[in-house]
């Protein structure tokens, strides 16, 4: 029997394949395609202190092997999440993790406190890396002191597993990773999107209403892999890796680089089945290579 389950900061995931925040809704939209219970976990769309309308349309630009988005954390706020959405999804047969966002430390803390009360949410993912909001968001994630401060503030109120999602738009990802670890994070998630821009040469205008937006998709995979590798070597806490994962081979690369689990993001848009297909592909790889336990892949990159 091949073991696919991984334990991350005390939480057992039935397999290391999860879905990235903002690319999987609240999981409900995928039930037409497959049973979300087949996944290790689901990271739901960012939740903020109150309702946000997000940025103006256009919010998307296609780029070479990737896309830019500037959604800007559109969501109906944490009260709505607790009241309306949580009851609908809490009994999914997989771990639901809430992506917590905000513009101020107080907002992060307030959302985390409310999510802390939800019994079937074993962890939150603190999004200190959203490039698409004017205040807060990525700003927190690019300055080590601020990253540590917001992590610590949330740590003080949040009693379950605290994951922090890092921004790749930094000179030294390991410096941020260490600061966040010092702040009390249990797990690091990386990477969020890279800040980019697209221009319509005919109209001589930016394509996004916000001019710049966040780059995701296979284009960023080499950068994501490098950062996961660097952070895995620099900190002792587990890392969840993502950025451009489209298939099982990509997922395996992240595990080898040191990720204890992976998230599937943009790939969900192109193939709603991408994440379950990755579970299957991972299983096939392990069997073909006679690896009994997926944990034997994690960080197993040979560099001699």
């Amino acid at each position: 029997m091949t073991n696919l389950s991984v334990n991350i900061a005390g939480i057992t995931f039935k397999n290391p394949v999860t879905t990235a925040s903002g690319t999987f809704g609240y999981g409900e939209e995928f039930r037409d395609f497959f049973d979300p219970g087949k996944l290790g976990g689901i990271f739901v769309k960012a939740v903020t202190g109150s309702n946000r309308e997000g940025n103006a349309y256009p919010r998307m630009a296609e780029t070479a092997s990737g896309m830019l988005n500037s959604v800007g954390l559109q969501n109906k706020g944490v009260d709505h999440f607790v009241r309306e959405i949580y009851p609908r999804i809490k009994d999914f047969d997989t771990h639901i993790i809430v992506n917590v966002s905000g513009s101020t430390i107080e907002e992060y803390v307030r959302v985390a406190e409310q999510i802390n009360e939800l019994q079937n949410i074993p962890a939150i993912e603190l999004n200190i890396s959203c490039p698409n909001v004017k205040q807060g968001g990525m700003a927190f994630g690019t300055i080590p002191e601020m990253s540590e401060e917001v992590t610590r503030a949330v740590r003080n109120v949040y009693k379950k597993v605290l994951m922090v999602k890092l921004s790749p738009n930094v000179t030294s990802i390991t410096e941020i990773a260490k600061a966040v670890t010092d702040g009390g994070a249990d797990v690091l998630t990386l990477i969020n999107t890279l800040l980019g821009m697209a221009i319509d040469a005919e109209r001589q205008r930016p394509i996004l209403s916000t001019i710049t937006g966040g780059l995701s998709g296979p284009a960023i995979k080499p950068i994501a892999l490098r950062m996961v590798w660097q952070v895995h070597k620099a900190v002792k806490i587990p890392v969840i890796g993502l950025g451009g994962i489209m298939n099982a081979t990509d997922a395996i690369e992240f595990l080898l680089a040191g990720a204890s689990a992976i998230q599937v993001g943009t790939a969900n848009f192109i193939d709603p089945m991408a994440s379950v297909n990755i579970v299957e592909g991972l299983k096939a790889y392990l069997q073909k290579n006679h690896i009994a336990d997926v944990n034997d892949l994690i960080g197993a990159l040979k560099t001699d």
Binding site: G22, T23, F24, G25, E29, F30, D32, F33, K45, N51, E53, G54, A56, Y57, P58, R59, M60, E62, T63, A64, S65, G66, M67, N69, V71, Q74, G217, T266, N268, F269, I270, D271, P272, M273
Partner: protein
Amino acid sequence: MEIKKTVQDLTVARNISLNNRHFLLDLIAPEPLPLMLPGQFVQVLVNDSPTTFLRRPFSIHQVDYPRKSIRLLVQIKGDGTRHLSSLREGEALNVLYPLGNSFSLPSVKNVLLIGGGCGVAPLLFLAQFLNQNRIRPTILVGFRTKEEVSEIEAYSAFGDVFITTDDGTEGEHGLVPDHSILQKERLPFEKIYCCGPDAMMKAVARLAALHKIDCEVSLENTMACGFGVCLCCVTPTDRGNERVCVEGPVFNIKRLDWI
């Protein structure tokens, strides 16, 4: 009623060139088609086009349940549609469908359909659907030029067809909203359904508002997912930013901030 979405390999049964910018694609499903409504769309995965990363949305132009076949009307815009234009019979095309809401069934009888460019795509399906509900609509369609005027016979089967061309080579000369049937002091229509370029839809919406005619438009915002999870396709409505791929693509103009 909730329609289950599916992602399937359909088979290209025919690829019919209408002119050098437009073609029809007939796609056959491996199993009975799900129920589809006029205004809904599909998301097509374009293979082998290095510059086409995301799926491409197209309205459902016609449905043939017995043959398990749907027809798309596609205008060549960029690399994605160019690749689709060279699909050959028998090739597989991965399609995610059916997506979006639909035009509403009108409670009135005097209905006008207005389409411009490939915005006519959903109107044929709608016209047929109206006929099945004993409504024979007036259909006003605009094209760039005579060579692009097509499928008029198909439309005529379902309603009275009026044509404009931008260059006046067929039908009336000018843009769709300028057609003479729309220039009367009182318009004989109780409901307008419109689909086409934004500027055209806005002009029609203004006209409808002026004449106090109920009007639905079908938006074509750019999409990443097409099934509600990315929040990229939103449009401002009276309930805030709504997803064109789920709450739309069809919106009553009353709900938009257009006028």
